[in-house]
Symmetry: C2
Subunit: 370 residues, 2 copies
């Protein structure tokens, strides 16, 4: 079991017994985070970023870790999320393996990794753990909670469970609940991992590691993170130069297959399989309608936030555009000044990571009006 902790990561301890939504409690957990900029004297310039499934807290370079972060072009001095104005916190999700406590962490009761003994993790637990970081940093009210993808779910849970905790909210390619197509995709990803004999009901190690299962899961993820339209232009039917077909008649042949293989190989040993299962399942479970007799709009309408921006792209098949529209409509029902922006990015669900040209001005513009 490996945790992957970037240089310069900071930590806060969770309460010694941290209750999970589904009933169990976590003992002596911690949350990893990083910050950019300075908290103002009035404490009113703080922004919290909640991430998708796999990122760590290193959203952008810091003095302690100059390596580029996963949202490098979005965050920093003079960037759309301007660290000259804002004090920005990015949290590694509870249940992850990038510094925050998760299934790959040592269980203090046994001295062994939790593996599948980690408590059942919900998006709400991720939100509550992030809230502990904000409180520990002495912030009484955030200026804005930004959540991308899974983080869009976590952000809505955060706002729902902690009324008045933020004035603004940016929901980037997120949703208020998981729908069946996305559940199906994630279910297949988890099944690929679980079917790998090396997964061994969570009891793998570095020598017997569910590499094939993780590779399949990641490839399927990448297929759903991008869009057919982008790939038509990017890969077309370009074939690989090398024809290594003799002993492997069904091996890689097209450039798009190599792209997937490369993505998968980079990921497989950079993310813990059990953590992947827990975080993936937490998304399937998430449904704000649970809090409002099955009515997702009513669930959203109970959230109290002054201004919000919900952004999506029409090429997103995993968190489709109507889900960001739903977030905006629901928040508006609750009295929020809620904007919905449909960006024309061809890159699908991952557009927010790569199409800074469109996402940057949308986010900067909202923050400027906050």
């Amino acid at each position: 079991m490996t945790e992957f902790i970037a240089a310069g990561t900071k930590f806060i301890d969770l309460p010694s017994s941290f209750p999970f939504k589904r009933g169990e409690s976590l003992r002596n957990g911690r949350i990893a985070y990083e910050t950019w900029g300075r908290l103002s004297a009035g404490g009113d310039n703080a922004i919290l970023i909640l991430t998708g499934l796999s990122p760590n807290a290193h959203a952008a370079a810091t003095p302690d870790n100059p390596e580029a972060g996963w949202w490098e072009a979005m965050l920093g001095a003079g960037q759309p999320i301007d660290s000259d104005r804002w004090f920005v916190i990015c949290v590694n999700s509870l249940g992850s393996c990038k510094g925050s406590t998760g299934p790959a962490s040592i269980n203090p009761e046994t001295g062994q990794p939790y593996r599948l003994d980690f408590p059942d993790l919900s998006v709400e637990d991720i939100a509550n753990a992030a809230h502990e970081v904000v409180v520990a940093l002495g912030i009484r009210q955030l200026a804005c909670v930004i959540g991308n993808s899974m983080g869009g779910m976590s952000a809505l849970a955060y706002l729902f469970l902690h009324p008045g905790s933020a004035r603004g909210h940016i929901n980037v390619s997120g949703s208020a609940r998981a729908l069946p197509f996305s559940i199906a995709i994630r279910s297949l990803q988890r099944e690929a991992i679980r079917l790998d004999p090396a997964w061994n009901h969570g009891k793998y190690d570095d020598d017997h590691y569910p590499e094939n299962g993780m590779r399949m899961a990641r490839k399927l993820g990448v297929v759903t993170y991008r869009s057919a339209m982008e790939w038509d232009g990017r890969f077309g039917r370009v074939r690989l130069d090398s024809e290594v077909r003799e002993d492997d008649p069904f091996g890689l042949e097209f450039e798009v297959e190599r792209y997937l293989e490369g993505h998968a190989r980079r990921f497989v040993h950079q993310f813990d399989p059990n953590c992947y299962l827990y975080l993936s399942r937490s998304m399937d479970w998430f449904d704000l309608a649970e809090y409002a007799d099955g009515d997702v709009m009513a669930g959203l309408a109970r959230i109290r936030v002054e201004k919000s921006l919900s952004i999506g792209v029409h090429t997103d098949i995993l968190f489709p555009l109507q889900q960001q529209q739903e977030v905006a409509d629901g928040l508006r029902l609750g009295g929020c000044d809620a904007e919905f922006v449909n960006l024309e990015s061809p890159q699908g669900h991952d557009a927010f990571l790569v199409d800074i040209e469109h996402f940057g001005p949308a986010i900067a513009g909202f923050l400027a009006r906050l």
Copy 2:
């Protein structure tokens, strides 16, 4: 290795040496087919149906096999493809395992199944084999070639390779070439099968069968055959009644997962894994642009057919609508009276199998004008 041959299936023998596009030849192959209606005295009322990856030749009930076929509501007396008017032939694809020779068939040279010694199969070979059936039945020119999904590719190959062989063409959710999103999906399906240790480089048997790989491949297929929109209405977030979670914390929980599991279980032992690999790969290889210096429109424009109908649905992510538009536009460049119809079916790629309400009139109307 099992072949799955429906009652009442008829056969024609291929020439004793049948050359494949990629260079090898098949010895003593055969093609399975079924027919409906009667060939007219002038021989001008014949329709050929070319199928998607998995169907057999039993498109509809016959006197010899009253069991409902896979296109039962579309084909028969008084149906949109009216067997009172048309003599209809449906062919099981070369390379399949439903009667036509494929990787699961016995290689006469060894007395053992071909497995991976089957020649590299192209869509063009499927088309040429179907043409042998038409010739054997004494038909000089078809009234229409209808192809669904993979069959849409086979039909274009048929028309391209046999100029003047048909007056009309209906392309249902097909395409003139494989694009990278679909290649990626099929590549993952094949990888799931190949990664199953029981696949054993094609040397499985009924006792050591790549069940997990086939299940994953089929589930991924079903995900891409339907649409998120349909599933939202059909499954929503409905959970299974039984909570069998104790010993299987990542097991099935949502109705959509049970739906996939049911589909997969029914398929796994009804289709040969090696045949699946061969047919799947043949689709990735297909590209009419190969015949026209890389220009797919020019490839289509070389096809000689009088009238065509290209139908698709906007919810199809595997053979997206613009590919049916492309077929129509390309055929029109070649002088064809080419129609393109965009149906509003929510069911995605599989809509032609289930949304007979919309596909039926479109197909019947075209045939009435033929």
